[in-house]
């Protein structure tokens, strides 16, 4: 033998284990440290000693050809493994990772990494009569600070844990995966011996200690390892990690619920970790406007300690501390306590990795951009408002949009108060998730810079997309992300799909996004001519296909189509506004005209012989209303049509639908034109009793959609007495004072941004609400 092997069994993230490992290593003075972890990391372990390396960090290993296959090994400051790594690196001792190589474990295991077959600590705690495994472990291991005074054996706790685990493993079988891992670990220990190391320290999960203590024959382990799959090419690197991710059950080892608390326990050097932590909690609560004084802290410390004694624990643990915070500082409220839990018990710490850590080229590009654009990745969520007229902000926006295309949702667009005031503003909510490290590796297949990768991803997505509206959405995102190279292929796919698509509803769904994209394109100065062409083509197709598509629809279909008609109407209006006015405003605009003609034809298609032969009333009414809003029909004509549809000849259900379509999204019309209201009133009172029951739901829906004020006034008018032509005029009867009225116009012109006064012809503005 000769070499002395010491096994240090730990819980993966536990300040007590970490302290114990530190003390044990100091006593052992090993000449090599073996750690449970992927051996590929041997080469980059030295980076742990760099100045820029700050835990929490994680080792990320991924398969080169399939970056989605990846695994993490996170380390916090209070992880025993990290303590061991630092110990070795600072003394320039060799560190070896002895778990299965990632190149094999990543392909071998499909089952989730469950570690031990059962929760070994839980079983131990149960045996000791504790229901809560975490608390038991804390009491017996984590809260015991190793006795560093003379004579104390820093190894004693490890011997006890090993003994307990041996007993446990006799009860519980090991699973196949663990057997393989342990065989590999034993091989690595043998290798370390062969290499001539005299004092070998092994830091591994407590569960594995008995398996490493009893060395079966080399042949036995070889036979086991023979069944491992072939190695694949993998890459490994360090990535920053967060406390929040440590608290989730991912990666290796069990997740821990209170990384922030552990970090505090591990890093606080004085004798009063409790008082210090409660002081932090008080400061946090004060910052959130909870009146918490020093007296509160004193009382909380006393309560937590007494609770600890009462519950028979060696020290006040997290449970006691939180109970004290709730009772003393938060007035018993769980809401304030949730804040403490979120910020202090879990915490927002984000690790750092030195630049020299290996990284995929894409990662480097992202880091470079982050630096040049002064956007620091942070784990805490924050708002970012961008003004797209500034160059820096535009670049930032491009970066965020491109990353989003790549599936790295660092920023999510958010609505803010200023958002609605102009298209040159953008609001983002930023939050860096360490998980992104994997996404970046995944995205690396598309290209080595953010722009290339985003372009590649967009084109490939376009080819795979079947839905037209998704394609236009993608086109919009390409524009937002400033990917001119991606646009032509995406447009080609889009045009092809649009040509083949026979479903007008699909086309109608696609158009608004496209037009929006055009508009944004203007703000950003991107060339949208290709987009404009496609949008117009799409609009033409819709104009042709809409009337037949609307024929013979049932009630649900009509409702869905109404939304499309509204959407397309708004989009076409927008498209026309966006058109440069070189042709001159007088020149009739073909598209707008074609659309108006389409609406006209819609409105005319009455179901003369049963519902299947015409356009439903809802859509006809809507078409009339849209035309009226655009000033292409006058109110007299609209009144005539209303009268026609409400006459005895047409079916009441169809008439009610017509009214709904006509009035949807703005009923002020009824107030301005008492004649319309009169017609409606007349029709309503004439509907036979049994039919009334049928149309009632429709009417109800129609009128509940009106603004409260309009509804009330309509009610008042109806209650006031006979309506119709003889209605009492509510407007002042005096004639307009032309001169005074004209005096308003220049200001109004200025406000509306119309070409300078004089010839200003104020169009009737479309009702905004109807567009929504």
């Amino acid at each position: 033998m000769g070499a002395e092997v010491t096994l240090l069994g730990v819980r993966h993230h536990g300040p007590g284990s970490a302290r114990a490992v530190g003390a044990a290593l100091a006593q052992l003075q090993p000449d090599v440290v073996l750690i449970e972890g992927p051996p590929e990391a041997d080469g980059i372990v030295a980076l742990a000693g760099e100045k820029d390396m700050a835990p929490p960090v994680a080792l990320l290993a991924h398969v080169v050809d399939d970056p989605a296959k990846a695994a993490f090994w996170p380390f916090a400051a209070f992880s025993p493994e990290w303590v061991a790594i630092r110990y070795a690196v600072e003394r320039e001792l060799p560190v070896r990772f002895i778990d299965l190589p990632a190149s094999q474990s990543l392909v071998a295991v499909q089952e989730p990494d469950s570690g031990a077959p059962k929760d070994p600590i839980g079983a131990l705690a149960e045996a000791a009569g504790h229901d809560d495994a975490e608390r038991w472990w804390e009491d017996v291991v984590e809260h015991r600070t190793p006795d560093t005074e003379a004579g104390a054996d820093a190894l004693a706790p490890f011997a006890a844990v090993a003994e307990a685990m041996t007993a446990l493993r006799e009860l519980d079988g090991n699973n196949r995966r663990d057997e393989l891992r342990e065989a590999y670990m034993r091989q690595q220990v043998r290798a370390a011996r062969r290499a001539g190391h005299a004092r070998i320290a092994v830091v591994c999960g407590a569960w594995h200690v008995p398996a490493l203590a009893s060395m079966p024959t080399v042949a036995h382990d070889r036979a086991l390892l023979a069944e491992l799959p072939k190695k694949v090419r993998t890459e490994i690197t360090w990535v920053p990690w967060t406390h929040r991710r440590l608290s989730q059950h991912t990666g290796y080892g069990a997740g821990i619920d209170s990384p922030g608390w552990y970090h505090h326990l591990f890093t606080s050097t004085d004798d009063e970790p409790l008082a210090r932590w409660l002081t932090k909690a008080a400061a946090l609560l004060r910052a959130e406007d909870h009146p918490v004084s020093s007296a509160h802290v004193i009382e909380a410390v006393r309560l937590a300690r007494t609770l600890g004694v009462m519950r028979g624990r060696p020290l006040a643990g997290l449970t006691e501390t939180l109970d004290a915070v709730r009772s003393v500082m938060c007035d018993g409220s769980d809401v304030a306590l949730a804040l403490v839990h979120d910020r202090l018990v879990v915490g927002d710490a984000l690790g750092e990795v030195p630049e020299s850590a290996p990284a995929v080229p894409l990662q480097r590009d992202i880091v470079r951009l982050q630096r040049s654009l002064r956007l620091k990745p942070e784990a805490a969520e924050r708002e970012l408002a961008l003004d797209l007229r500034k160059e820096l902000d535009t670049s930032r926006s491009l970066l965020l949009h491109r990353l989003r295309l790549l599936g790295i949702a660092w920023g999510t667009p958010s609505r803010s108060a200023v958002n609605s005031t102009g298209t040159f503003r953008e609001s983002w909510r930023l939050r860096w998730d360490p998980e992104f490290a994997v996404r970046i590796v995944e995205a690396a297949q598309w290209g080595s810079t953010v722009e290339d990768a985003a372009t590649g991803k967009a084109v490939e997505t376009a080819l795979a997309t079947r839905e037209l509206s998704e394609l236009t959405g993608l086109a919009e995102r390409c524009l937002l992300a400033g990917l001119p190279a991606a646009l032509p292929p995406v447009m080609r796919v889009l045009a092809d799909r649009a040509a083949l698509d026979t479903d007008v509803a699909q086309l109608a769904r696609a158009l608004p996004a496209l037009v929006r994209a055009l508009r944004y394109g203007d703000v950003r100065g991107t060339d949208g001519s290709a987009l404009d062409g496609v949008a117009r083509g799409l609009a033409e197709r819709i104009c042709v296909g809409l009337p037949p598509a609307c024929t013979g629809l049932d009630a649900d279909g009509a409702t869905a189509m109404r939304a499309h008609v509204d959407g397309v109407h708004a989009a076409i209006t927008l498209l026309e506004q966006g058109t440069p006015s070189e042709q001159g405003t007088e020149a009739a605009d073909p598209l707008a005209d074609r659309w108006a003609a389409t609406l006209q034809s819609l409105a005319r298609r009455e179901p003369s012989a049963g519902p299947a032969t015409g356009v439903p009333g809802l859509l006809r009414g809507r078409a009339v209303r849209l035309l009226l809003d655009d000033g292409r029909l006058d109110s007299e004509e609209a009144g005539r049509r209303l009268g026609l549809v409400l006459s005895m000849a047409s079916a009441p259900a169809d008439a009610a639908g017509w009214v709904e379509g006509f009035l949807a999204g703005g009923g002020a019309l009824l107030l301005h034109d008492p004649r319309l209201l009169g017609l409606l009133d007349e029709w309503l009172t004439g509907v036979p009793g049994e039919v009334f029951t049928d149309v009632l739901p429709l009417l109800r829906r129609t009128f509940s959609g009106l603004e409260a004020g309009v509804r009330r006034t309509v009610g008042e008018r109806v209650a006031a007495g006979p309506l119709g032509a003889a209605a009492v005029p509510t407007a002042p009867a005096t004639a307009l004072d032309q001169v005074r009225a004209d005096a308003v116009l220049p200001t109004l012109t200025l406000l509306l941004g119309l070409p300078a006064a004089g010839s200003a012809r104020i169009h009737r503005q479309p009702d905004r609400r109807s567009a929504s």
């Binding site: 009146p291 007296a295 006393r302 309560l303 009462m310 004290a324 003393v328 018993g332």
Partner: protein, 372 residues
């Protein structure tokens, strides 16, 4: 009458309608004290561990079974007992019917063996109730002296080192409330008329209860609030917990009211609690249907009184079996606080939820009849 005999009921005089906790559970307290070997704070009859056991229930080494007095999170009782041991005052908060008074009474009984040092807070609680008053005959005959002084329960608790209780602290006018500040911080009660003072001896502490649902109460000043550790008593977490609580309390109350245990009780209690919980949470137990929430609290205490009431109805006017009809009247009474809005809520619930439920046909019919 065999159902009435119990070791608790037989010991104490039967004329009393409701016994004090320390009398009703004297046997349990004695057993706990006999076997309690942990350190006790001065003038405490039991150690904090034993007090917690008394409230939460358990079995002693010699086999004595301690019935649970409070069914709920262990944490709450532990924090409450510990607070009293650290000489901070304890404030029990909660919506009506969450056993605040019940817990405070049992804490006082277990710690001091005396739950009677009680000040009931009302809008008219005078300063004398928390400090001291005068016996005017004595005062006029002999002048101001200790003999003419009428101490309040709080003052007596201070002198004897016991637990004083203040019920409904937030109903007491603010100036009277603030009289407690000196008592809680300086642990002394000055008597300027005599140039004297009463200093609290070790063992003195104060438990206050307050209800955080009511409006029109006197909020505690932050100076006073700071002297209290606050424990919020929650509504029971699960259906089974609540059924357990109701069953226990109904049995205890039934005994003191000479009501026999009736068949059908368990089934109806479960149904009453289910209805209460569903209306309170605004969602049915299977999580599928949303229901409107009535304006009342619908606390566990109300469920207990509904069942007790039903028992009395069934015993005296019914056929000796607790039936749906006996409890639905009470439920409707508890739900219909606001005659218009709650009526709607209750009707919708009866028609929308109860009608479809398997095995609830009798309950549905009774509920319908009662809500007419």
């Amino acid at each position: 009458m065999t159902t009435l005999t119990s070791e608790l009921a037989s010991e104490a005089p039967r004329e009393v309608l409701r016994e004090h906790a320390e009398d009703a559970f004297a046997a349990e307290l004695a057993a706990l004290a006999a076997q309690d070997d942990r350190p006790r704070p001065e003038r405490w009859l039991l150690s904090p561990w034993a007090v917690a056991t008394y409230l939460l229930g358990g079995e002693l080494p010699d086999g004595t079974v301690i019935t649970p007095k409070y069914i709920g999170p262990r944490r709450i009782v532990e924090v409450a007992v510990t607070t009293l041991a650290t000489d901070r005052a304890l404030l029990l908060l909660g919506v009506p019917g969450t056993a605040k008074t019940w817990v405070s009474e049992h804490l006082a009984a277990a710690i001091s063996g005396d739950s009677t040092l009680l000040v009931q807070g009302t809008a008219g609680t005078p300063e004398e109730a928390v400090r001291y008053g005068w016996n005017y005959a004595q005062l006029l005959a002999h002048g101001p002296s200790r003999d003419a002084l009428v101490p309040s329960p709080v003052m007596r608790a201070m002198a004897d080192g016991k637990i004083a209780r203040v019920e409904e602290l937030t109903r007491i006018p603010a100036d009277v409330q603030d009289g407690l500040i000196t008592i809680l911080s300086e642990k002394t009660l000055p008597i300027p008329e005599l140039g004297d003072e009463t200093q609290a001896v070790r063992g003195f502490n104060l438990i206050a209860t307050a209800n955080d649902r009511d409006r029109g109460v006197n909020e505690l000043s932050s100076a006073l609030r700071r002297r209290f550790n606050t424990v919020v008593l929650p509504l029971p977490g699960s259906l089974d917990d609540e059924v357990d609580i109701v069953t226990r309390r109904v049995n205890q109350l039934g005994r003191s009211l000479d009501l026999p245990e009736l068949p059908g009780g368990a089934e109806e209690i479960r149904r009453v609690v289910t209805v209460f919980r569903e209306l309170r949470d605004g969602i049915t137990t299977d999580g599928r249907t949303k229901v409107k929430t009535p304006s009342g609290t619908l606390s566990t205490a109300e469920a207990i009184s509904v069942v007790t009431n039903g028992l009395a109805l069934a015993t005296h006017f019914g056929d000796g079996v607790l039936r749906a009809g006996d409890v639905t009247t009470g439920i409707a009474g508890a739900v219909l606080r606001d005659p218009v809005a709650d009526q709607l809520v209750w009707r919708e619930y009866v028609e929308g939820v109860l009608r479809e439920r398997d095995g609830w046909k009798d309950f549905y019919r009774a509920a319908r009849e009662n809500s007419r």
